[in-house]
Protein backbone atom coordinates (compact mmCIF):
# COMPACT_ATOMS: atom_id res chain seq x y z
CA UNK A 1 0.00 0.00 0.00
CA UNK A 2 2.82 2.39 0.86
CA UNK A 3 6.17 1.94 -0.80
CA UNK A 4 9.33 3.98 -0.42
CA UNK A 5 11.94 3.21 -3.10
CA UNK A 6 15.48 4.54 -2.78
CA UNK A 7 14.37 7.72 -1.11
CA UNK A 8 16.97 10.37 -0.29
CA UNK A 9 16.33 13.69 1.32
CA UNK A 10 19.07 16.29 1.41
CA UNK A 11 18.05 19.70 2.78
CA UNK A 12 19.25 22.88 1.12
CA UNK A 13 21.79 23.48 3.86
CA UNK A 14 23.39 20.16 2.99
CA UNK A 15 22.00 18.08 5.86
CA UNK A 16 21.36 14.53 4.76
CA UNK A 17 18.11 13.62 6.52
CA UNK A 18 17.29 10.39 4.72
CA UNK A 19 19.51 8.09 2.69
CA UNK A 20 18.37 5.21 0.50
CA UNK A 21 15.16 4.42 2.33
CA UNK A 22 13.34 1.33 1.07
CA UNK A 23 10.20 0.54 2.96
CA UNK A 24 6.98 -1.29 2.28
CA UNK A 25 3.92 -0.96 4.49
CA UNK A 26 0.94 -3.18 3.86
CA UNK A 27 -2.71 -2.32 4.25
CA UNK A 28 -4.08 -2.46 7.82
CA UNK A 29 -0.59 -2.73 9.30
CA UNK A 30 0.44 -1.05 12.56
CA UNK A 31 4.01 0.22 12.21
CA UNK A 32 6.10 1.94 14.84
CA UNK A 33 8.95 3.99 13.46
CA UNK A 34 11.57 4.39 16.17
CA UNK A 35 14.91 6.09 16.45
CA UNK A 36 16.67 8.90 18.30
CA UNK A 37 15.81 12.54 17.77
CA UNK A 38 17.23 13.83 14.51
CA UNK A 39 17.40 10.38 12.96
CA UNK A 40 14.96 11.30 10.20
CA UNK A 41 11.58 10.15 11.55
CA UNK A 42 9.95 13.55 11.14
CA UNK A 43 11.39 14.02 7.65
CA UNK A 44 9.97 10.65 6.67
CA UNK A 45 6.54 11.73 7.85
CA UNK A 46 6.81 15.14 6.17
CA UNK A 47 7.59 13.43 2.89
CA UNK A 48 4.71 11.04 3.37
CA UNK A 49 2.23 13.90 3.79
CA UNK A 50 3.77 15.83 0.85
CA UNK A 51 4.94 18.67 3.05
CA UNK A 52 8.47 18.05 1.78
CA UNK A 53 9.48 16.40 -1.47
CA UNK A 54 12.31 13.86 -1.58
CA UNK A 55 15.57 14.71 -3.35
CA UNK A 56 15.70 11.28 -5.01
CA UNK A 57 13.53 8.20 -5.13
CA UNK A 58 9.84 7.50 -5.28
CA UNK A 59 6.99 7.08 -2.86
CA UNK A 60 3.81 5.38 -3.95
CA UNK A 61 0.76 5.52 -1.69
CA UNK A 62 -2.15 3.40 -2.88
CA UNK A 63 -2.33 4.12 -6.59
CA UNK A 64 -0.69 7.54 -6.30
CA UNK A 65 2.95 8.30 -6.95
CA UNK A 66 3.28 11.26 -4.61
CA UNK A 67 6.70 12.24 -5.90
CA UNK A 68 5.05 13.16 -9.18
CA UNK A 69 2.03 14.82 -7.64
CA UNK A 70 1.10 18.21 -9.10
CA UNK A 71 0.91 20.90 -6.38
CA UNK A 72 -2.76 21.42 -7.15
CA UNK A 73 -3.46 17.75 -6.41
CA UNK A 74 -1.70 17.70 -3.03
CA UNK A 75 -4.77 18.85 -1.04
CA UNK A 76 -6.82 15.97 -2.47
CA UNK A 77 -4.09 13.52 -1.55
CA UNK A 78 -3.94 14.87 2.00
CA UNK A 79 -7.66 14.34 2.42
CA UNK A 80 -6.99 10.62 2.15
CA UNK A 81 -4.63 10.73 5.12
CA UNK A 82 -5.23 11.36 8.76
CA UNK A 83 -2.32 13.06 10.49
CA UNK A 84 -1.68 13.55 14.19
CA UNK A 85 1.00 16.21 14.53
CA UNK A 86 3.62 16.33 17.20
CA UNK A 87 2.52 19.85 18.15
CA UNK A 88 -1.19 18.96 17.63
CA UNK A 89 -1.86 21.97 15.39
CA UNK A 90 -5.24 22.70 16.88
CA UNK A 91 -6.85 26.13 16.56
CA UNK A 92 -6.61 27.74 19.99
CA UNK A 93 -9.57 30.10 19.73
CA UNK A 94 -12.25 27.64 18.69
CA UNK A 95 -13.86 24.76 20.56
CA UNK A 96 -13.12 21.06 20.28
CA UNK A 97 -16.17 20.53 18.09
CA UNK A 98 -15.26 23.45 15.82
CA UNK A 99 -11.68 22.25 15.45
CA UNK A 100 -12.88 18.97 14.01
CA UNK A 101 -15.64 20.58 11.94
CA UNK A 102 -13.13 23.10 10.57
CA UNK A 103 -10.92 20.39 9.13
CA UNK A 104 -13.93 18.89 7.40
CA UNK A 105 -15.21 22.24 6.13
CA UNK A 106 -11.83 23.02 4.65
CA UNK A 107 -11.85 19.85 2.62
CA UNK A 108 -15.28 20.64 1.24
CA UNK A 109 -17.44 18.32 3.31
CA UNK A 110 -21.14 19.30 3.24
CA UNK A 111 -22.42 20.76 6.52
CA UNK A 112 -25.02 18.02 6.74
CA UNK A 113 -22.34 15.32 6.93
CA UNK A 114 -20.25 17.30 9.39
CA UNK A 115 -23.16 17.44 11.84
CA UNK A 116 -23.49 13.66 11.69
CA UNK A 117 -19.82 12.64 11.68
CA UNK A 118 -18.29 14.92 14.36
CA UNK A 119 -20.36 13.58 17.29
CA UNK A 120 -19.62 10.02 16.21
CA UNK A 121 -15.88 10.63 16.18
CA UNK A 122 -16.01 12.47 19.50
CA UNK A 123 -17.64 9.45 21.09
CA UNK A 124 -15.00 7.17 19.55
CA UNK A 125 -12.23 9.11 21.34
CA UNK A 126 -14.37 9.65 24.44
CA UNK A 127 -14.72 13.43 24.31
CA UNK A 128 -18.46 13.93 23.84
CA UNK A 129 -18.83 15.97 27.02
CA UNK A 130 -15.86 18.20 26.11
CA UNK A 131 -17.12 19.25 22.72
CA UNK A 132 -17.70 22.91 23.65
CA UNK A 133 -14.43 23.34 25.54
CA UNK A 134 -11.42 25.25 24.21
CA UNK A 135 -8.13 23.34 23.69
CA UNK A 136 -6.28 25.24 26.45
CA UNK A 137 -8.80 24.00 29.02
CA UNK A 138 -8.01 20.37 28.20
CA UNK A 139 -5.41 18.05 29.69
CA UNK A 140 -2.52 16.75 27.59
CA UNK A 141 -4.20 13.43 26.92
CA UNK A 142 -7.44 15.12 25.97
CA UNK A 143 -5.70 17.45 23.52
CA UNK A 144 -4.09 14.43 21.92
CA UNK A 145 -7.47 12.78 21.59
CA UNK A 146 -8.87 15.89 19.86
CA UNK A 147 -5.96 15.67 17.42
CA UNK A 148 -6.81 12.01 16.80
CA UNK A 149 -10.48 12.84 16.33
CA UNK A 150 -9.60 15.49 13.75
CA UNK A 151 -7.28 13.13 11.92
CA UNK A 152 -10.12 10.61 11.70
CA UNK A 153 -12.70 13.10 10.48
CA UNK A 154 -12.27 12.25 6.79
CA UNK A 155 -12.33 8.53 7.55
CA UNK A 156 -8.81 8.07 6.18
CA UNK A 157 -7.30 4.78 5.01
CA UNK A 158 -3.99 5.74 6.60
CA UNK A 159 -3.40 7.35 9.97
CA UNK A 160 -0.01 8.95 10.59
CA UNK A 161 0.95 9.84 14.15
CA UNK A 162 4.09 11.84 14.95
CA UNK A 163 5.07 11.30 18.62
CA UNK A 164 1.47 10.89 19.81
CA UNK A 165 2.60 10.09 23.37
CA UNK A 166 5.18 12.90 23.50
CA UNK A 167 4.58 14.60 26.81
CA UNK A 168 2.13 12.21 28.40
CA UNK A 169 2.49 10.17 31.54
CA UNK A 170 2.66 6.37 30.96
CA UNK A 171 -0.96 5.71 31.83
CA UNK A 172 -2.37 8.44 29.59
CA UNK A 173 0.07 7.46 26.86
CA UNK A 174 -1.16 3.89 26.89
CA UNK A 175 -4.74 5.19 26.69
CA UNK A 176 -3.83 6.99 23.48
CA UNK A 177 -2.18 3.86 22.08
CA UNK A 178 -5.31 1.88 22.81
CA UNK A 179 -7.35 4.31 20.75
CA UNK A 180 -4.85 3.91 17.89
CA UNK A 181 -5.10 0.12 18.20
CA UNK A 182 -8.86 0.33 18.06
CA UNK A 183 -8.67 2.43 14.89
CA UNK A 184 -6.24 -0.08 13.43
CA UNK A 185 -8.62 -2.92 14.22
CA UNK A 186 -11.35 -1.05 12.35
CA UNK A 187 -9.20 -1.35 9.22
CA UNK A 188 -6.99 1.73 9.12
CA UNK A 189 -3.26 1.53 8.48
CA UNK A 190 -1.42 3.21 11.37
CA UNK A 191 2.09 4.63 11.11
CA UNK A 192 3.45 5.97 14.37
CA UNK A 193 6.75 7.72 14.93
CA UNK A 194 7.87 7.44 18.56
CA UNK A 195 10.80 7.04 20.87
CA UNK A 196 8.77 5.73 23.74
CA UNK A 197 10.51 2.44 24.54
CA UNK A 198 7.94 1.10 26.97
CA UNK A 199 5.09 1.47 24.55
CA UNK A 200 6.90 -0.15 21.65
CA UNK A 201 7.86 -3.10 23.81
CA UNK A 202 4.34 -3.53 25.05
CA UNK A 203 2.78 -3.22 21.58
CA UNK A 204 4.58 -6.17 19.97
CA UNK A 205 3.84 -4.92 16.45
CA UNK A 206 6.10 -4.19 13.48
CA UNK A 207 9.06 -1.94 14.33
CA UNK A 208 11.14 0.04 11.84
CA UNK A 209 14.23 1.67 13.31
CA UNK A 210 15.84 4.65 11.62
CA UNK A 211 19.36 5.70 12.43
CA UNK A 212 21.30 8.50 10.77
CA UNK A 213 18.85 8.58 7.89
CA UNK A 214 18.76 4.89 7.02
CA UNK A 215 16.61 1.94 8.01
CA UNK A 216 18.75 0.01 10.48
CA UNK A 217 16.20 -2.55 11.60
CA UNK A 218 12.83 -3.78 10.39
CA UNK A 219 10.98 -6.65 12.04
CA UNK A 220 7.38 -7.87 12.02
CA UNK A 221 6.85 -8.39 15.74
CA UNK A 222 9.42 -6.78 17.97
CA UNK A 223 10.32 -4.50 20.81
CA UNK A 224 12.41 -1.35 20.97
CA UNK A 225 15.89 -2.20 19.74
CA UNK A 226 18.01 0.89 19.99
Amino acid sequence: MIQFSKVDKIYQNGTVALKDINLKIKEKEFVSIVGPSGAGKSTLIKILIAEESPTNGQIVVGEINITRLKPSRIPYYRRKLGVIFQDFKLLPRVTVYENIAFAMEVSGEPSKNIKIIVPKILSLVGLVDKKDVFPEELSGGEVQRVAIARALAHQPKILIADEPTGNLDPKTAWGIIQILLKINELGTTVIMATHNKEIVNRLQKRVVAIERGTVSYDKEVAGYVL
Binding site: L91, A103, G108
Partner: protein, 306 residues
Amino acid sequence: MTLAGIKRIFKMGARNFWRNGWLSIAAVFVMVITLFILSLFVILNIGVNETVKKISEKIDLSVRVKDNAPIEKINSLKTAIGQEQGVGNIYFKSKEQAWEEFKNLNEKNKEISSELEPGDNPLWASLEVKLNDPNKLQKIVDIAETEQYRSIVDKVNYREKQNIFETLVKFTNFIKKAGLSLTIIFVGISFLIIFNTIRITIYSRREEVEIMKLVGATNWYVRAPFIFEGALYGIIGAIACFIIIFTSVYFVSPMMTKYWTVISQSNSMDYLKDRLFLIISLEILTGIFIGTLSSAIAIRKHLKRV
Protein backbone atom coordinates in the same frame (compact mmCIF):
# COMPACT_ATOMS: atom_id res chain seq x y z
CA MET B 1 -16.31 24.54 -5.47
CA THR B 2 -19.52 23.71 -3.68
CA LEU B 3 -22.08 26.23 -2.50
CA ALA B 4 -21.15 25.42 1.08
CA GLY B 5 -17.51 26.11 0.22
CA ILE B 6 -18.33 29.51 -1.23
CA LYS B 7 -20.41 30.35 1.81
CA ARG B 8 -17.51 29.36 4.09
CA ILE B 9 -15.10 31.55 2.11
CA PHE B 10 -17.37 34.59 2.43
CA LYS B 11 -17.87 33.91 6.10
CA MET B 12 -14.15 33.63 6.72
CA GLY B 13 -13.38 36.80 4.74
CA ALA B 14 -16.03 38.77 6.61
CA ARG B 15 -14.73 37.45 9.93
CA ASN B 16 -11.19 38.56 9.07
CA PHE B 17 -12.52 41.97 8.15
CA TRP B 18 -14.31 42.23 11.48
CA ARG B 19 -11.40 40.95 13.57
CA ASN B 20 -8.97 43.43 12.01
CA GLY B 21 -10.87 46.27 13.69
CA TRP B 22 -8.97 49.52 13.30
CA LEU B 23 -6.97 48.19 10.41
CA SER B 24 -10.17 47.59 8.48
CA ILE B 25 -11.42 51.05 9.34
CA ALA B 26 -8.15 52.61 8.10
CA ALA B 27 -8.33 50.62 4.88
CA VAL B 28 -11.95 51.60 4.27
CA PHE B 29 -11.19 55.22 5.13
CA VAL B 30 -8.37 55.54 2.65
CA MET B 31 -10.54 53.77 0.09
CA VAL B 32 -13.27 56.36 0.63
CA ILE B 33 -10.81 59.21 0.12
CA THR B 34 -9.45 57.62 -3.02
CA LEU B 35 -12.86 57.01 -4.51
CA PHE B 36 -14.06 60.45 -3.48
CA ILE B 37 -11.19 62.13 -5.27
CA LEU B 38 -11.76 59.93 -8.28
CA SER B 39 -15.47 60.81 -8.37
CA LEU B 40 -14.78 64.49 -7.88
CA PHE B 41 -12.33 64.32 -10.72
CA VAL B 42 -14.86 62.64 -12.98
CA ILE B 43 -17.66 65.05 -12.05
CA LEU B 44 -15.42 68.11 -12.51
CA ASN B 45 -14.25 66.75 -15.81
CA ILE B 46 -17.80 66.27 -17.03
CA GLY B 47 -18.72 69.77 -15.83
CA VAL B 48 -15.71 71.52 -17.29
CA ASN B 49 -15.91 69.65 -20.58
CA GLU B 50 -19.56 70.58 -20.87
CA THR B 51 -18.77 74.22 -20.12
CA VAL B 52 -16.00 74.34 -22.66
CA LYS B 53 -18.26 72.73 -25.24
CA LYS B 54 -21.04 75.21 -24.65
CA ILE B 55 -18.68 78.16 -24.79
CA SER B 56 -16.85 76.96 -27.85
CA GLU B 57 -20.20 76.62 -29.59
CA LYS B 58 -20.77 80.25 -28.86
CA ILE B 59 -17.38 81.43 -30.01
CA ASP B 60 -17.16 81.30 -33.72
CA LEU B 61 -14.47 82.70 -35.85
CA SER B 62 -15.27 85.21 -38.47
CA VAL B 63 -12.67 85.91 -41.15
CA ARG B 64 -13.50 89.28 -42.66
CA VAL B 65 -12.90 89.36 -46.39
CA LYS B 66 -12.00 92.47 -48.40
CA ASP B 67 -14.60 93.81 -50.83
CA ASN B 68 -12.56 93.30 -53.95
CA ALA B 69 -11.33 89.77 -53.15
CA PRO B 70 -11.54 87.31 -56.05
CA ILE B 71 -13.85 84.38 -55.43
CA GLU B 72 -11.18 81.70 -56.25
CA LYS B 73 -8.92 83.01 -53.52
CA ILE B 74 -11.76 83.00 -51.01
CA ASN B 75 -12.61 79.43 -51.96
CA SER B 76 -8.99 78.38 -51.59
CA LEU B 77 -8.89 79.85 -48.07
CA LYS B 78 -12.19 78.18 -47.27
CA THR B 79 -10.75 74.80 -48.33
CA ALA B 80 -7.55 75.38 -46.37
CA ILE B 81 -9.45 76.11 -43.15
CA GLY B 82 -12.06 73.42 -43.80
CA GLN B 83 -9.33 70.79 -44.03
CA GLU B 84 -8.07 71.52 -40.52
CA GLN B 85 -9.02 69.14 -37.76
CA GLY B 86 -11.38 70.54 -35.19
CA VAL B 87 -13.25 72.72 -37.67
CA GLY B 88 -16.92 71.86 -37.56
CA ASN B 89 -18.48 74.01 -40.21
CA ILE B 90 -17.38 76.73 -42.54
CA TYR B 91 -19.41 78.84 -44.95
CA PHE B 92 -19.09 81.98 -46.97
CA LYS B 93 -21.32 84.89 -46.04
CA SER B 94 -21.50 87.47 -48.77
CA LYS B 95 -21.80 91.18 -48.18
CA GLU B 96 -25.46 91.00 -49.24
CA GLN B 97 -26.26 88.12 -46.87
CA ALA B 98 -24.67 90.02 -44.02
CA TRP B 99 -26.79 92.98 -44.83
CA GLU B 100 -29.96 90.87 -44.94
CA GLU B 101 -29.14 89.32 -41.60
CA PHE B 102 -28.48 92.70 -40.10
CA LYS B 103 -31.75 94.00 -41.44
CA ASN B 104 -33.65 91.02 -40.08
CA LEU B 105 -32.10 91.45 -36.69
CA ASN B 106 -33.04 95.08 -36.58
CA GLU B 107 -36.42 94.77 -38.22
CA LYS B 108 -38.26 95.91 -35.18
CA ASN B 109 -35.94 98.76 -34.55
CA LYS B 110 -37.70 101.34 -36.66
CA GLU B 111 -35.10 103.99 -36.02
CA ILE B 112 -32.24 102.06 -37.55
CA SER B 113 -34.21 100.58 -40.44
CA SER B 114 -35.47 103.97 -41.48
CA GLU B 115 -32.00 105.43 -41.46
CA LEU B 116 -30.61 102.83 -43.79
CA GLU B 117 -30.76 103.21 -47.51
CA PRO B 118 -30.80 100.17 -49.78
CA GLY B 119 -27.88 101.60 -51.71
CA ASP B 120 -25.23 101.81 -49.05
CA ASN B 121 -24.16 98.57 -47.46
CA PRO B 122 -21.57 99.24 -44.76
CA LEU B 123 -21.07 95.55 -43.98
CA TRP B 124 -18.54 93.08 -45.32
CA ALA B 125 -18.30 89.55 -46.68
CA SER B 126 -16.81 86.91 -44.39
CA LEU B 127 -15.96 83.25 -43.86
CA GLU B 128 -17.84 82.00 -40.81
CA VAL B 129 -16.03 79.19 -38.98
CA LYS B 130 -17.49 76.96 -36.28
CA LEU B 131 -14.90 75.23 -34.08
CA ASN B 132 -15.34 71.86 -32.43
CA ASP B 133 -12.00 71.99 -30.68
CA PRO B 134 -11.19 75.26 -28.95
CA ASN B 135 -7.48 74.41 -28.92
CA LYS B 136 -7.42 74.83 -32.72
CA LEU B 137 -8.36 78.50 -32.57
CA GLN B 138 -4.85 79.85 -32.98
CA LYS B 139 -4.14 77.44 -35.84
CA ILE B 140 -7.05 78.80 -37.88
CA VAL B 141 -6.02 82.38 -37.17
CA ASP B 142 -2.51 81.57 -38.36
CA ILE B 143 -3.80 80.14 -41.63
CA ALA B 144 -5.93 83.19 -42.32
CA GLU B 145 -3.02 85.50 -41.57
CA THR B 146 -0.46 83.89 -43.88
CA GLU B 147 1.18 85.89 -46.67
CA GLN B 148 -0.85 84.03 -49.26
CA TYR B 149 -4.16 85.39 -48.05
CA ARG B 150 -3.06 88.82 -46.93
CA SER B 151 -4.55 90.38 -50.05
CA ILE B 152 -8.04 89.13 -49.30
CA VAL B 153 -8.24 88.91 -45.51
CA ASP B 154 -9.09 92.10 -43.77
CA LYS B 155 -9.30 90.99 -40.17
CA VAL B 156 -9.99 87.90 -38.04
CA ASN B 157 -12.64 88.51 -35.43
CA TYR B 158 -11.89 86.53 -32.31
CA ARG B 159 -9.56 88.56 -30.14
CA GLU B 160 -12.07 90.09 -27.78
CA LYS B 161 -13.07 86.63 -26.54
CA GLN B 162 -9.73 84.97 -26.75
CA ASN B 163 -8.46 85.76 -23.28
CA ILE B 164 -11.40 84.24 -21.45
CA PHE B 165 -11.25 81.37 -23.77
CA GLU B 166 -7.60 80.61 -23.30
CA THR B 167 -7.92 80.87 -19.54
CA LEU B 168 -10.74 78.38 -19.66
CA VAL B 169 -8.74 75.96 -21.73
CA LYS B 170 -5.78 76.27 -19.38
CA PHE B 171 -8.05 75.72 -16.40
CA THR B 172 -9.53 72.61 -17.97
CA ASN B 173 -6.12 71.18 -18.62
CA PHE B 174 -5.03 71.99 -15.09
CA ILE B 175 -8.08 70.28 -13.60
CA LYS B 176 -7.44 67.23 -15.70
CA LYS B 177 -3.79 66.97 -14.75
CA ALA B 178 -4.25 67.73 -11.05
CA GLY B 179 -7.21 65.37 -10.77
CA LEU B 180 -5.39 62.59 -12.49
CA SER B 181 -2.24 62.97 -10.39
CA LEU B 182 -4.22 63.10 -7.15
CA THR B 183 -6.17 60.04 -8.18
CA ILE B 184 -3.02 58.13 -8.99
CA ILE B 185 -1.39 59.13 -5.69
CA PHE B 186 -4.39 58.03 -3.66
CA VAL B 187 -4.86 54.82 -5.58
CA GLY B 188 -1.22 54.13 -4.64
CA ILE B 189 -1.80 54.94 -0.98
CA SER B 190 -4.89 52.79 -0.67
CA PHE B 191 -3.12 50.01 -2.50
CA LEU B 192 -0.30 50.10 0.07
CA ILE B 193 -2.62 50.25 3.06
CA ILE B 194 -4.78 47.37 1.87
CA PHE B 195 -1.69 45.42 0.93
CA ASN B 196 -0.40 45.86 4.48
CA THR B 197 -3.72 45.05 6.10
CA ILE B 198 -3.98 41.81 4.20
CA ARG B 199 -0.37 41.02 5.02
CA ILE B 200 -1.08 41.48 8.72
CA THR B 201 -4.20 39.33 8.39
CA ILE B 202 -2.13 36.61 6.79
CA TYR B 203 0.48 36.93 9.51
CA SER B 204 -2.00 36.79 12.35
CA ARG B 205 -3.68 33.79 10.76
CA ARG B 206 -0.55 31.94 9.66
CA GLU B 207 -1.25 29.14 12.14
CA GLU B 208 -4.77 28.68 10.85
CA VAL B 209 -3.54 28.83 7.26
CA GLU B 210 -0.94 26.17 7.97
CA ILE B 211 -3.52 23.89 9.56
CA MET B 212 -5.89 24.44 6.67
CA LYS B 213 -3.20 23.37 4.25
CA LEU B 214 -2.23 20.32 6.30
CA VAL B 215 -5.76 19.01 6.56
CA GLY B 216 -6.25 19.30 2.82
CA ALA B 217 -7.51 22.77 1.87
CA THR B 218 -6.89 23.76 -1.73
CA ASN B 219 -4.80 26.87 -2.46
CA TRP B 220 -7.86 28.59 -3.84
CA TYR B 221 -9.76 27.87 -0.63
CA VAL B 222 -6.95 29.35 1.47
CA ARG B 223 -6.57 32.46 -0.67
CA ALA B 224 -10.16 33.29 -1.50
CA PRO B 225 -11.11 34.71 1.94
CA PHE B 226 -8.21 37.18 1.77
CA ILE B 227 -9.23 38.28 -1.70
CA PHE B 228 -12.79 38.64 -0.55
CA GLU B 229 -11.60 40.71 2.42
CA GLY B 230 -9.82 43.06 0.00
CA ALA B 231 -12.93 43.35 -2.16
CA LEU B 232 -14.93 44.10 0.96
CA TYR B 233 -12.77 47.17 1.65
CA GLY B 234 -13.55 48.34 -1.87
CA ILE B 235 -17.29 47.70 -1.67
CA ILE B 236 -17.77 49.31 1.74
CA GLY B 237 -15.55 52.24 0.72
CA ALA B 238 -17.58 52.73 -2.45
CA ILE B 239 -20.90 52.70 -0.60
CA ALA B 240 -19.63 55.22 1.96
CA CYS B 241 -18.29 57.39 -0.84
CA PHE B 242 -21.61 57.17 -2.68
CA ILE B 243 -23.45 58.47 0.39
CA ILE B 244 -21.00 61.37 0.75
CA ILE B 245 -21.26 62.34 -2.90
CA PHE B 246 -25.02 62.08 -3.05
CA THR B 247 -25.34 64.29 0.03
CA SER B 248 -22.85 66.82 -1.34
CA VAL B 249 -24.58 67.00 -4.69
CA TYR B 250 -27.89 67.46 -2.94
CA PHE B 251 -26.65 70.45 -0.98
CA VAL B 252 -24.35 71.98 -3.57
CA SER B 253 -26.80 71.56 -6.42
CA PRO B 254 -28.90 74.72 -5.79
CA MET B 255 -25.74 76.80 -6.01
CA MET B 256 -24.58 74.97 -9.07
CA THR B 257 -27.87 75.48 -10.85
CA LYS B 258 -27.27 79.20 -11.26
CA TYR B 259 -23.93 78.65 -12.90
CA TRP B 260 -25.14 75.76 -14.94
CA THR B 261 -28.22 77.45 -16.39
CA VAL B 262 -26.07 80.29 -17.70
CA ILE B 263 -23.88 77.80 -19.45
CA SER B 264 -26.19 75.15 -20.75
CA GLN B 265 -29.75 75.86 -19.64
CA SER B 266 -29.97 72.59 -17.72
CA ASN B 267 -30.25 71.65 -14.08
CA SER B 268 -27.09 70.38 -12.41
CA MET B 269 -28.89 67.94 -10.11
CA ASP B 270 -30.62 66.33 -13.08
CA TYR B 271 -27.42 66.41 -15.00
CA LEU B 272 -25.53 64.58 -12.26
CA LYS B 273 -28.42 62.28 -11.45
CA ASP B 274 -28.26 60.99 -14.99
CA ARG B 275 -24.62 60.17 -14.44
CA LEU B 276 -24.85 59.13 -10.79
CA PHE B 277 -25.37 55.51 -11.68
CA LEU B 278 -22.29 55.63 -13.87
CA ILE B 279 -20.28 57.20 -11.05
CA ILE B 280 -21.46 54.63 -8.49
CA SER B 281 -20.69 51.70 -10.76
CA LEU B 282 -17.31 53.18 -11.50
CA GLU B 283 -16.64 53.60 -7.77
CA ILE B 284 -17.63 50.07 -6.83
CA LEU B 285 -15.68 48.56 -9.70
CA THR B 286 -12.61 50.67 -8.92
CA GLY B 287 -12.92 49.81 -5.22
CA ILE B 288 -13.16 46.09 -5.91
CA PHE B 289 -10.31 46.34 -8.38
CA ILE B 290 -7.95 48.12 -5.97
CA GLY B 291 -8.97 45.87 -3.06
CA THR B 292 -8.65 42.53 -4.80
CA LEU B 293 -5.49 43.44 -6.68
CA SER B 294 -3.67 44.55 -3.53
CA SER B 295 -4.70 41.46 -1.58
CA ALA B 296 -3.84 39.19 -4.48
CA ILE B 297 -0.33 40.64 -4.55
CA ALA B 298 -0.01 40.45 -0.75
CA ILE B 299 -1.01 36.78 -0.90
CA ARG B 300 1.40 36.04 -3.71
CA LYS B 301 4.20 37.57 -1.72
CA HIS B 302 3.38 36.08 1.67
CA LEU B 303 1.72 32.75 1.06
CA LYS B 304 4.33 31.47 -1.32
CA ARG B 305 4.88 28.25 0.53
CA VAL B 306 1.21 27.54 0.83
